[in-house]
Symmetry: C2
Subunit: 280 residues, 2 copies
Amino acid sequence: MMSKVDMADKRAELDVAEIERYLAAAMEMADEVRSMIKSFITAGFRIDRKQDQSFVTSADLEVEQRLREMIGSNFPEHGIVGEEFATINPHADFQWILDPIDGTEDFAHGVATFGTIVGLHYKQWPIVGVIDHPALDMRVSGAFGLGAFQNGSRIAPVSSESAPGDGGVRMVISARANFTPYDNSGPLFDALVRRYPNHRIYRSCYGHTLAITGHADVMVEYGNHIWDLAASQILIEEAGGKYVTVQHLRLSDIETIYGAVFGRPALVDDITGLIRRPDR
Amino acid sequence: MMSKVDMADKRAELDVAEIERYLAAAMEMADEVRSMIKSFITAGFRIDRKQDQSFVTSADLEVEQRLREMIGSNFPEHGIVGEEFATINPHADFQWILDPIDGTEDFAHGVATFGTIVGLHYKQWPIVGVIDHPALDMRVSGAFGLGAFQNGSRIAPVSSESAPGDGGVRMVISARANFTPYDNSGPLFDALVRRYPNHRIYRSCYGHTLAITGHADVMVEYGNHIWDLAASQILIEEAGGKYVTVQHLRLSDIETIYGAVFGRPALVDDITGLIRRPDR
């Protein structure tokens, strides 16, 4: 869904006013969700486990339901792919991709780095992305050709220098638990943390936000689903960074596992080179 | 400074009212610092590098200076050990230990997890600890015999169960960069992240706060200084958890490197056992 290989950029078919309308809708959705999540934090919520043993809370379910209602009433012909409920209009050109609470385990434990992810893709090309962190009062947002923003302020272009001028590379990476279940990539995690020892691990989309804003230099995301990455490609590209899909495993008709590296272009090239080398 | 071996607990010499007075002073210091740091975030600050290439900002310097003024006017006979300035009254029974901004690199880059650490030790025994996170509106505080608190609410005792009832162990650990410079403990980092793959890395005291509040199960801190750990032992012990010093390297007359494991007692035992095993 995120590959550009052998495809003309379909986004040229859309005019700016239309893209602005979708971005405005995504921002309205993020506003609504932020206020819902703050209410859940105050009032409490139910915590359950899904079949795969991952966490789900009543907040995840109600937030995604509300996002689906908003999309359904504004854009009834659009498709919806979300973490918690079934796909809608799977053959539509426009696909909204939703993770109501990314980092649910952290949310359930009172850790502040969780976030809501809303992405809109058109003919498999990302056009709108929003990542909202209710507990941090922080949001990144952007759309094709319109730039990337942090809390409404335009994000300065991500540096193209290979190394940051101010010290060691600040890499954010998925936990080792994300590297092992699908394709036994534990040794890749080990090689990456050796090469870039000034790393952070958040287990949520906070790392995406930091790479997009330039507060971290590069993000390495592994073993995730489409909704975890739905907003990040358009956001990093609009911020002047580079995005490369490095893992694409079709587990079944309904489940595909994705990994991606994004951030400063020269670092993305270095890390994708490392991933491809058999002798790392 | 943190070992209890062969020492009677000197804290029995202090009465409750006195300890309450020190805790109140530490809370007042944290209030003052929080408001200063919020002002720096709004107004901006200067970023420099120290001789060891670590970051220092004008905020670190001014905050520590202010903390020293407050201690000096309230407790002129007490000692002060801080990250940014010279030691005062090194032979005093009471030693205030200060990290004005722990996670300065993150603070300088706009990452929210940095914090201020204030600890008070009496004859080498920790009696008061405060960790304050201005960007998260979160504080943990506690004192000997008085309990541990999160934003003023008593923290429920850390569970003594070996594994959390709700899934995989949530370990927070220092980055690999903290394990290699002093005693080549990189392989220990590798063994720990394999054993507990549901880990997080913050590179700041936010992981301490999560272990103390029970939001994470255990914290493994390596390659740090006394001011990084000055508040954590009293806080985790008052929250019902266990604290073990696992690294104590005297580099020179003025520099000692510390590591510690703290959190759920059974997990602390498991990890300290792993650290001691030569065949891990």
